[in-house]
């Protein structure tokens, strides 16, 4: 840690600040089931995690642990591609983006993603809530979230 004087930033009110930053390098570890999920995306396959027991929820995106029953989850099951929109929001901008939460068929959870193909003028329609939709894959999936999005089913 050097003793060098840190920069002072200019402030409209003439207040002197000490400039400093806070870097905390992190190593994040992905949930192992999530890694399998990313691999499956390359094959245009969607996987969810099924918790064990009678009340076993189907969790999407998959996690190794069900927080409700507090039990480990090891089984992966195929899910979707159809689902229903639970709710949505729109990020404004030159190209507004529609963020949706979709509950895929077979899943007990809803999950986030982008809805494409909706004309800008129709984005604020509440008929989107509860609307059926489907997962659409990119032509060459890479194994990350950009591999798929949602589109409305007519």
């Amino acid at each position: 840690m050097s003793g060098a004087r840190e920069q002072v930033r200019k402030d409209p009110e003439g207040i002197e600040f000490v400039q400093a930053s806070w870097d905390v390098p992190q190593k994040y570890h992905a949930d192992p089931l999530l890694l399998k999920f990313f691999e499956a995306l390359k094959e245009k396959q969607l996987l969810a995690a099924r918790a064990s027991g009678e009340k076993g929820r189907v969790i999407f995106p998959p996690t190794s642990f069900c927080e409700v029953t507090f039990s480990a989850v090891t089984e992966l099951v195929p899910i979707g591609p159809k689902g229903r929109i639970v709710t949505f929001t729109i990020l404004p901008g030159t190209t507004p983006k529609l963020i949706v939460f979709v509950q895929l068929e077979g899943a007990d959870t809803a999950s986030a993603g982008y809805l494409r193909g909706v004309p800008e003028g129709e984005m604020t329609s509440l008929s989107l809530v509860g609307a059926p939709c489907t997962v659409v894959f990119a032509d060459e999936p890479k194994g990350d979230w950009s591999d798929f999005w949602f589109e409305l089913i007519d």
Partner: protein, 311 residues
């Protein structure tokens, strides 16, 4: 209405490969099994974990630590603070069964010590303060006063390392998780007197001797069954041990200077004490948490023996 320990478990490793989530969930399951209860029986969850070590805000992940549907608190300042909070909540009748969970992947601090961000930005940081420099300053001050020698510190570190890891290879940081179940009228160790005192980042009276701090918060104990003193640095564990004269069995579980994984570290020792108390019959004793880079937040929890420890 006294609070006591019904179950406990821990995991400690020099470096845990992969994420901490599964490790935390495993210690919780083992602690619940040790207490012979289900998670559904728990009404309050308290976590002890640092946002900086996790890289994510701990309270938004309470579900990872069994918090879903429970009453929840996060007390990252020290295990001692969290233990006091758990005991008081039960004693006040605000909770019946508390699950206290602490964890930390502190091994990453060996590459980059982010604790430098704990120092005030106006004076200490520009001067180059870091945990290492402050601990060195404290150690030197204790040596200059003739209270410890570097050799003694090294010997203690080796001994604690032997106990903790089975080899005499001192370690500054490691990874770990621990879970403690507290209930009213528990079968295990019962919380009795709790003494606590804190001092500023640089104590105002200029005194950096943890022995004085420990003396202040411990009541005289008649023949304690155990004394476990936990701090980040072997030099202040050494001074704190000196403050309790006549203690026979001290740091049987290695303290935490050689097994430090963040503020929750003493929970690991408490889990080990709980297991040992069962095997060796009725015990009373003292757990002292010297939290902070200089050990300046001191919590001394005196335990008395509970009923027979349920298998």
């Amino acid at each position: 209405m006294r609070a006591g320990i019904s179950g406990a478990a821990y995991t400690l490793d020099r470096q845990i490969a992969g994420g901490m989530d599964a490790v935390v969930q495993d210690v919780i399951q083992r602690a619940l099994a040790d207490a012979a209860i289900q998670l559904a029986d728990v009404d309050m969850v308290i976590t002890v974990a640092s946002d900086a070590l996790d890289g994510m805000m701990v309270p938004v992940r309470s579900d990872m630590a069994g918090g879903f549907g429970k009453s929840y608190l996060n007390i990252p300042s020290s295990a001692g603070h969290a233990l006091m909070a758990a005991a008081s909540s039960i004693e006040a009748g605000d909770a019946e069964t508390v699950l206290l969970v602490g964890w930390g992947a502190a091994s990453k601090l060996a590459e980059f010590d982010s604790r430098t961000n704990q120092f005030d930005p106006f004076y200490l940081r520009p001067l180059g303060a870091s945990v290492a420099t402050l601990q060195a300053m404290q150690e030197q001050s204790l040596i200059d006063q003739g209270l410890i020698s570097r050799e003694d510190v090294g010997l203690l570190a080796s001994r604690m390392s032997e106990i903790t890891w089975g080899k005499s290879e001192p370690a500054t940081f490691c990874d770990g998780a621990a879970a403690i179940v507290l209930q009213q009228n528990a079968a295990g160790l019962i919380f009795d007197h709790i003494g606590f005192a804190s001092r500023a980042q640089i104590p105002l009276d200029g005194n950096l001797d943890p022995a004085i701090w420990v003396e202040e918060v411990t009541k005289k104990l008649e023949d304690p069954g155990f004394i476990e003193i936990c701090g980040q640095s072997p030099s202040f564990e050494l001074r704190a041990l000196a403050a309790i004269p006549g203690a026979k069995r001290t740091n049987a579980h290695g303290g935490s200077s050689q097994g430090w994984f963040g503020p929750a570290s003493p929970l690991r020792n408490l889990a080990a004490l709980h297991a040992a108390a069962g095997e060796s019959g009725r015990q009373s004793g003292l757990l002292i948490d010297l939290a902070g880079p200089l050990g300046q937040h001191v919590t001394a929890i005196q335990f008395r023996a509970g009923g027979s420890h349920a298998a």
